[in-house]
């Protein structure tokens, strides 16, 4: 059997990779995808803990997080499409209309 900490380390690794993607990449779609990775890492954590303490709550929260991820992806991609239509770019650091 696998110790719970291994799940946590896996989740930690995925989360860190996601954070790295968010803070270093320029392409907004990849940034969005990295956020999905991070949410996913959280889910692993929740399910592992749920098993550890023997309750279904972790699963419920994981379902909520997946719902949230779906909403986020829909809105995020909507914004990206609207942005792409106006500025013809996918680069996050060129999204600076509000920068002053």
């Amino acid at each position: 059997m696998i110790p719970t900490s291994h799940y946590l380390f896996l989740s930690l690794g995925l989360f860190t990779v996601g954070v790295i993607g968010v803070v270093t990449r320029r392409n907004v779609i990849i940034i969005l995808m990295s956020i999905e990775l991070m949410l996913n890492a959280v889910n692993i954590n929740l399910v592992a803990f749920s098993r550890l303490v023997g309750s279904a709550e972790g699963h419920v929260f994981a379902i909520f997080i997946i719902t949230d991820a779906a909403a986020e992806a829909a809105v995020g991609l909507g914004i990206i499409i609207a942005f792409f239509r106006n500025r013809e770019t996918l680069l996050g650091d060129e999204m600076d209309l509000l920068k002053w």
Partner: protein, 168 residues
Amino acid sequence: MLDQIVFYFFAALAVISAVLVVTRRNIVQSAIFLITALLATAGIFLQLHAEFLFIVQVILYAGGIMVLFVFVIMLINLDVSLHQVQFNRQWWLGLVLALALGAQLTVAIAVGRSGLPLGEPAPATMLEPSTELVGKVLFSEYMLPFEIASILLLVAMIGAVVMAKKKV
């Protein structure tokens, strides 16, 4: 034995594809590796006996959200972004900070070992949340959050339509 093979296989697959997601130049390839990472996570859910979550992950994440991603990527010009610089100017700072965060979390897990039985496998006799149980908890204790989540989805749907619509 089988359990361990399954876990380490999926864990390695997930981490490797995650790394490839953030390093690939081609967005479509990134998306494919993200799908792989998500499916690997689904495998880990299965290994954790979270069957319902496994299928939710496959249907919603891999089958729904990622289709949306791939759809949008196909709509958007790819050739231009292939020849651009992929990492922003502060990438080194971001990398250092992200690694620092990772180190912090590692420490947190290490410290947490003393409080919770993290070092050993979860007791097998512990209840395995079945689909039925998840449903019961979701629709009794968490009824209100569930409804709020559905409103969130509705709002997101309207928002996405409004934003993606050409001219209002």
